[in-house]
Each structure stands twice: as structure tokens, then as C-alpha cells.
């Protein structure tokens, strides 16, 4: 590519501006989380904290909000959603990748419809139904809707991974007398492990970050999830920003690190299906 020096410098500046705009808010969150209350409300704000104030992180767990419960709830709900989604989704993805069957187009159409579905359109019947059968303020009450809305993504990504696997091994297994189900879980699943990991991360992030269902279905304090939890920190006079951002950092830092380490795979999973159509 021919390019002038001026063009190169301009290009470099755009790259730097983009990087700063994308990263700065997250960095600012971490910086604010280690500032003392006095420093937080200082105007104009100091760029770097005068001293590292760790009390905010202690307050997360002691300032009247049972944040450790929220963490436990989110871990269980997002974890189980991921497992259920992968099991159910990999079955469906396997037949979509390997078989032609009647109703296939209909099934794919329904998946697409669910992926585009406004969640708010079903909260009234689900709320009444869950209330009547006692699923409000339970783990399954959130795992069920999360699984439903994460299934399209799960199935798309897994289908594109399964399609890339060679069929020879399955054929050999069938000849050796394996049932299709055995060849699925003995051969396909282990071979597709990398694709499973990618999918698992995406589903976990979706479930961990969800807010609307969590806000509506799990209103009892001991059943709340982290996203609802961080909006619950009570302030005496002012919003306790230091504590909120300490909590925010606790719930985002692990995700951000995981995403950065596995970035290639995650991007591959995110864009699977959108390019090939």
C-alpha cells in the first residue's frame, strides 16, 4: 500500500483516539473505585488517586448490602444457564450441521425470531405464570428465560463449528455399531471442545450481564443478581460512588480479563454465521 507520511500520522492519531475513548471509561471506573469519598467528590477530579483507598472494596461486602449473596446468585445462575444451554444447544446444532430434515427452515426461522424478540413482550405472562407455580425468586426462574434467549446464539455458533469437523470419524463409528447419540457425545463433542468453550463464554457473559428479567423476577434481597445489586447500594446523603465502582470492578474485571485473553476466539464466535449467512 502506498501511503504518505502525513496519511500515516493521521491514521495513527485516529487509532490512538479510538483506543483512548474505548478504554478510558473502564480505567476511570477502576481509578474511582480506589479514591476516598473526599477525593471522589472533589472538583475538578484528580486524575490519579492521592492514595489507594481500599475501604470501598471492604464496604462492598459490609455496607448493608449482601453483595456476596448477589455474587453467588449470579455465578450459579450464569453457570447453570451456560451448562443447560450448551447441552440443549449442542443437540440441536448437531442435527442442523449433519442432517437435512423437514421443518429445518421453520426451526431456523423461529431461532432468528427469538434472537430478535423484545424481552418486554413476554414479561407479563411469564411473571404471572412464575408467580402461580412459585418460580419467582428462584434460580430456575431466571435460568429458564436466559436459556431461551441464549439458545439461538448457542445453536448458530455450535452449528458453524460442527460443520467444520470432518464426518469420517462419525461414519467409522456408525459402522462399528455406535448409535448416532453415542457418536455425537463420544466423537463430536470432544472434537468441538474449542467451539464449546467459545460458546460457553458468550452465554455466560450474556447471563451475567442481564438486567430486565433479574429486576422483575428476583426481587427478594437474597435472590438478587449482581447487575441489579449494584443499583441497590444505599447512600446516606450522596450516592456511594466509590462502593458502587468497587463492586462494578469486582463484577467486570474477571470478564474483561477473560475476554482479552481469549479475544480471537470470542470475535470468531460473535461473528459466526453473520458472514456466511
Amino acid at each position: 500500500m502506498r501511503s504518505t507520511r502525513k496519511g500515516k500520522i493521521g491514521f495513527g492519531i485516529i487509532v490512538i483516539v479510538t483506543v483512548v475513548l474505548m478504554v478510558f471509561p473502564f480505567v476511570w471506573q477502576v481509578i474511582t473505585s480506589v479514591k476516598s469519598p473526599g477525593e471522589i467528590f472533589q472538583a475538578p477530579p484528580s486524575i490519579l488517586p492521592e492514595q489507594i483507598y481500599t475501604q470501598n472494596y471492604k464496604d462492598v461486602f459490609t455496607a448493608g448490602v449482601p453483595f456476596h449473596w448477589y455474587l453467588r446468585n449470579s455465578l450459579i445462575i450464569a453457570g447453570l444457564t451456560t451448562i443447560v444451554c450448551l447441552i440443549i444447544g449442542s443437540f440441536a446444532a448437531y442435527v442442523l450441521a449433519r442432517f437435512k430434515f423437514k421443518g429445518q427452515a421453520l426451526f431456523l426461522g423461529i431461532l432468528l425470531a427469538v434472537a430478535m424478540f423484545p424481552q418486554v413482550a413476554i414479561i407479563s405472562p411469564l411473571f404471572l405464570f412464575f408467580r402461580d407455580i412459585g418460580l419467582l425468586n428462584t434460580y430456575p426462574g431466571l435460568i429458564l428465560p436466559y436459556t431461551t434467549f441464549a439458545l439461538p446464539l448457542t445453536i448458530w455458533i455450535l452449528t458453524s463449528f460442527f460443520r467444520e469437523l470432518p464426518t469420517d470419524l462419525e461414519d467409522a463409528a456408525l459402522i462399528d455399531g455406535c448409535s448416532p447419540f453415542q457418536s455425537f457425545y463420544r466423537i463430536i463433542v470432544p472434537l468441538a471442545a474449542p467451539g464449546m468453550v467459545t460458546t460457553a463464554i458468550l452465554v455466560f457473559i450474556f447471563a451475567w450481564n442481564e438486567f430486565l428479567f433479574a429486576l422483575i423476577f428476583n426481587t427478594a434481597n437474597h435472590m438478587r443478581t449482581v447487575t441489579v445489586g449494584i443499583t441497590m447500594f444505599p447512600g446516606l446523603h450522596e450516592v456511594p460512588w466509590g462502593t458502587i465502582f468497587a463492586a462494578s470492578t469486582i463484577i467486570t474485571l474477571p470478564l474483561v480479563l477473560m475476554v482479552l485473553i481469549l479475544q480471537k476466539r470470542i470475535v470468531q464466535g460473535l461473528t459466526a454465521g453473520s458472514v456466511k449467512g
Partner: protein
Amino acid sequence: MKSRTYLPYYFIAPAAIVIFGIALYPILHTFFISLHQINLKFPDLGMSFIWFENYIRLFQDGRAMGALFNTIFFTVSTVALELVFGMIIAILMDRALRFRGILRATVLIPWAMPTVVAAMLWRWMYNDQSGIINAILYGTGIIPEYIQFLAEPALAWTAVIVTEVWKTTPFMALLLLAGLQVIPREVYEASEIDGASKVRTFFTITLPLLRPVLLVALLFRTLDAFRVFDVIFVMTGGGPGNATESLSLYTYKTMFGALDFGYGSALSVLTFVCVIIISVLYIKFIGTRGQQ
């Protein structure tokens, strides 16, 4: 081997059952509830069938129409901005081999953050006394005094839209990058030999080749923006007044504030119908372009 013909159905059955039970059947039920008067504040009154009264009320309700307008405004402005910025970042990542890794890593940070956390963070950065945005704008002389961003409708909208665009542009950029990467290099080289300028090449070569991916990305982003809830709930709560209230937020307040499930369900159906209209328009557009 006869049993094998049914095999695919056994394998998709669990997914189909969950989707039918938790998404498809409930949407029909939402419509059913919307034809009733049902308020959880008065459980003894139960449900009474009132035909389309909730829908008549809906079209006479200025707040509902305002929320519909707000949602359309939010959707159009955020998706347009995401398209522009997403395209810029995608082109940067496509061209700048040396910076691709760092750019990809940085755009994944806003993407991975929960929307609620991002909204809290930006709300704090917009703070009228200790917010960094006021400090920067004041410090550089762009504004003469500190602004109460979230207290004035136009500024509150700007604040909310900036937050949403920051959070969701990465998704657009990554999808567009995937689309750019399947365009063969030779196409660009041929255009360059023909003496076409870079801008001309972009509009006559890149954009048409990118169209399928572009439309998929736009469809997903449009529908996602249309159901906006978290950002507005956290940043403004729909305020000042109801200036930034979206359909989802008004629906939530109707159902879980006023406990009016009948009318709330009518609002839900309105959102659902809008989403169907948007999808049909996009799919028609993708379809007709595909045939050319």
C-alpha cells in the same frame, strides 16, 4: 434404520420445547392478557374481558405515544452513529495490521461490560459537580460553567445516546470487520490501478460488497436498540419528566409500578408489533438486494 428418520426431531426437541414454552406461547398469552382489565393492586377483581379497550387507551395516551416516539428517535440516532463509528473502527482494524490486536482488545472492553455498569459509570462521568466530562469541557473552555447533563431533555438524550453508542459500537465494528476480511485484496488493487480514489473505492466497491453483512449487523442493532431498557433505567429513569422514557421502560413502570398488567401487556404488544414491522422491512430489503 427406520428410526433414524425421526432422529433430528429428538435432537431439536429440547430446544424447541424451551423456546415454545418460554417465548412463543407467552407472546400469544401477552395478547390474551392485553384484552383484559387486570390490576394486581386489586387481585379480588380478577380479570375481566374488555375487548380492545386497552388499545384504544394506548392511542389516546400521550405518554405512550411519547415513549414510542422516544424509542424510534433513540433507535435511529444510536444505530446511525454506531454505523459510522463502527465502520471507521472496522476499517482501522482491517488496514492497520500492526494495531489490529490492540484495537480488537480495546473494543472488547465496552462490549464485555454489563450495560448497567456502563450506564452507572457514564452517569457518574456526567455528574454535575465532580464529573470528569464537565471538568474536561470546562477546563478546555468549551462550556462557560458546569452543566447538569441529566436534568435537561436534549442533554439527557445526548448523554444516554453517547453511552449506548460507546457500549454497542464494538459489536458493529467486529461484524463489519468480519465482512471486510472476506473481500479479496485483488478487488482493491484493481480499483487502485484504474485510478479510483480511496473514497470512491469505498462507495463503489467496499460498500456494495459489504451489503449482506451490513444489513445483518444493522438488523440486529436496530432491534436491540428498540428494546432499550437498562441504559435509560439507570441513567435518567426516563426523566427529566418523561423526556427520555422508552417503550420498554414505560411498560415496566405500568406493570410493576402501577401493577396494571392489562394495559402493560397492550404496550408490550405494541413493542412486539413494531419489532415485526422493522424485521419485515429489513428482510424484504435483504431479499430484494440478494436477487440483483
